[in-house]
Symmetry: C2
Subunit: 396 residues, 2 copies
DNA sequence: TTTATTTAGTTCATTAGCTTTACTAACCAT
DNA sequence: ATGGTTAGTAAAGCTAATGAACTAAATAAA
């Protein structure tokens, strides 16, 4: 029934993953200053999420003492990040509270969206999410061809400068959502669409604009926007259907960058086994072949009005097939689709959902939600702004 | 070329994700005590991965001052977690260093592996990874049928008690790797194989054994074992081929639990589109149909020696098809396979790799490594021990 | 009208923890 | 011996959070 053996120790000690030792160098010590930083951010975050509050409210919400909160708030006020709003009209006994809030209209963020192949877009957005100015720059040259490489980079710099100068508010930072692979240092490792390779965009923009700059992949910032301003859960993927197809992934409330900063590259994966299970890589069998805006548009034109449903259904089906293993693997709660509503909404999304339920077991999909984004046109701009909020204020 | 508009603010403020406000309740304030806890863990972690060191070495490695390190080390020594090893023979001028190290042979962990359908396994393992005792309990009743439900639970408790009592060292904690879905409170939400549903296993074991207990899914602890003691990167998935097929995922060095604590359920996902793209869910088309040990064994018997390669190749192919979207999506650096070596090693792994390279774009797979685990039979036991180390010492 | 109660926010002394500076201990080399 | 080097400790100081006591300003009750 039961079998017990006692051995002399010393046979098979384990070895510790050598790469972990290296990581340790990164693990930082903590100081009292870190404690303060943490609590400061906690206060900011509380205000950010829960609107105007009294110091006492903040103390209750954060579990910090009134004394500590008063000190932190005073500091934040002196930095201009928080402002007093006057007294709350008293409701019940006790001294009336003085309300404080993030100075939402006192700072702005410059956000850029480089995801479109024809038009670079940008905006000045304040901390309340209000747009104060917009600017666009056509990516086309005199011959009507999209500019790339250094010329495109110059266009981006110009756009950033224009918006920086258009802002009447002090600018907290510059956030950029760009297609391509962006590493943790803000270097665009590769962005075929823009003709960039190993372009240190963050450094360039920081130098040229004087603004604290953050660069991230467009699908990632889109996911962050959805997470910050949508009604998402903590585990979801946003699939962006545009010139290409890419995804941004949030797990446990954290953005997933991938080992090579190339997460979300779902568009280039083969879908289905139409050509046999061991068929070689074939561009006609990758997800983008069915799902990108250019190919979808072409297919819809070719099919005519009668074939429209069929084309959209096929696209949704393929998306479902591609996502099924991801859903099973990650136990996602939600898939958010972003793309032209007339293409994505309805049939396409429905078909994807149906295929997902057909290809994964109920456990994996019975709480799954699939829906389209409610953030509209400004998804990327908002995401770029959210990235700056996260980096500069620890708020998100 | 460029088009700038300045709007009055106030048009479209963003709304903050309402679920975030709720999460805030979890976000905790920091106190000076947290700082100390952090640094204490940092010292432990440093000793854990870098072997015996002098106090001065630790100070250099952690960036803490010698004074702080001396204080923390003194405390850890008084708790019995760290011990002085005597002087290092001097090499060069200066006072010779006194070496200290984790008291690796002074504490033990009781680890249980419930993943096998016939045999519950357990061991007493010290902090160096040496096995001090082993015990097993057959899951079969008098009729030779695997016990489930409460009877299985009793068997687990007995096994834990046996090992606890067999340990001559003080026991730091009890770690359990079990099949099924386990939530953050150590409740087994569902484990069909063991006939458990909503079983508060952690609570039960804590009460019955008096040991600090941690329960996690078997594939997750396997991944953690590989991450702790293998030579993995920070972004990988471990695919466990056993009675079923499940996976554990580590991204950025963190374990991914999934929104419903059910990550890694890759075995129940349909693979390929043999029956058409919109075929209904079919157990004959899910990954486990080709890849689990029982089905593989059966297929190999049916095929005979001549068909062996073909069967293994097909299984590897299916695994590759299922993993391709996951690889593209997560940009994993590595896939680790765990299962009977005679089945998994070689043809199966090779086929999976080849399919992966055929179904994902080079960017996604050109640095991808696929290999089998080097942790052997004790993978789950080691993982269960690693979980306890992580929970109790913050070390991993 | 006066008094008690309640809530907001501040002042002050205390505690916890890390750091700097200064020191002793112990070793090597000249 | 003496100077230089490294390990480790002691004492004082700085930062940050805390608890107790206090003031301020309102409502409710007597």
């Amino acid at each position: 029934m039961k079998h017990v053996t006692t051995r002399s120790a010393g046979d098979t000690a384990w070895a510790i993953n050598p790469r972990r030792a290296r990581d340790l160098r990164v693990a930082a010590k903590a100081t009292p200053g870190d404690t303060k930083q943490h609590n400061r951010t906690l206060v900011l975050q509380t205000l950010y999420v829960s609107g105007p509050l009294s110091r006492a409210d903040i103390a209750r919400a954060t579990q910090l003492t009134k004394v500590t909160v008063s000190g932190l708030v005073a500091e934040l006020i002196s930095e201009g990040l928080v402002e007093e709003l006057g007294q709350r009209e008293s409701q019940g006994p006790g001294k009336p509270a003085t309300l404080v809030d993030l100075a939402r209209s006192a700072h702005a963020i410059v956000a850029l969206d480089l995801s479109d192949d024809k038009l670079l877009r940008g905006a000045v957005i304040d901390l309340a999410g209000r747009t104060h100015a917009r600017a666009e720059a056509a990516r086309l040259d005199a011959q009507g061809i999209a500019v790339t490489g250094d010329a495109a980079c110059e266009l981006v710099i110009e756009l950033a400068l224009t918006l920086r100068d258009a802002s009447e508010l002090p600018v907290l930072g510059l956030g950029v959502g760009t297609p391509g692979v962006v590493d943790a240092d803000g270097v665009v490792r590769v962005a075929p669409n823009l003709g960039w390779e190993a372009l240190p965009l963050r450094q360039i923009l920081t130098e040229r604009t004087g603004l604290a700059t953050t660069i991230e992949n467009d699908a990632n910032v889109a996911a962050l926007a959805e997470y910050s301003f949508g009604d998402t859960s903590e585990d979801f993927a946003l699939v962006r259907i545009g010139f290409g197809v890419g995804a941004g992934i949030i797990l446990g409330g954290r953005s997933i960058p991938g080992s090579q900063f190339a997460s979300g590259e779902i568009g280039q994966v083969m879908v289905g086994t139409d050509l046999g299970i061991d068929a070689p890589y074939n561009r006609e069998q990758v997800l983008e072949h069915w799902l990108s805006v250019p190919t979808l548009t072409r297919a819809l034109e070719a099919a005519g009005p009668a074939g429209r449903e069929q084309v959209l259904r096929e696209a949704g089906n393929r998306l479902g097939v591609a996502l099924a293993p991801v859903i099973g693997m990650l136990n996602l709660a939600e898939i958010v689709l972003s793309g032209p509503p007339e293409l994505v909404d309805g049939t396409l999304a429905d078909a994807a959902y149906e295929i997902l339920t057909r290809r994964t077991m109920p456990n994996s999909h019975d709480t799954l939600v699939i829906r389209t984004t409610g953030q509209g046109e400004d998804l990327i701009l908002r995401g770029a702004a959210a990235v700056v909020l996260r980096e500069r204020l620890g708020v998100s």
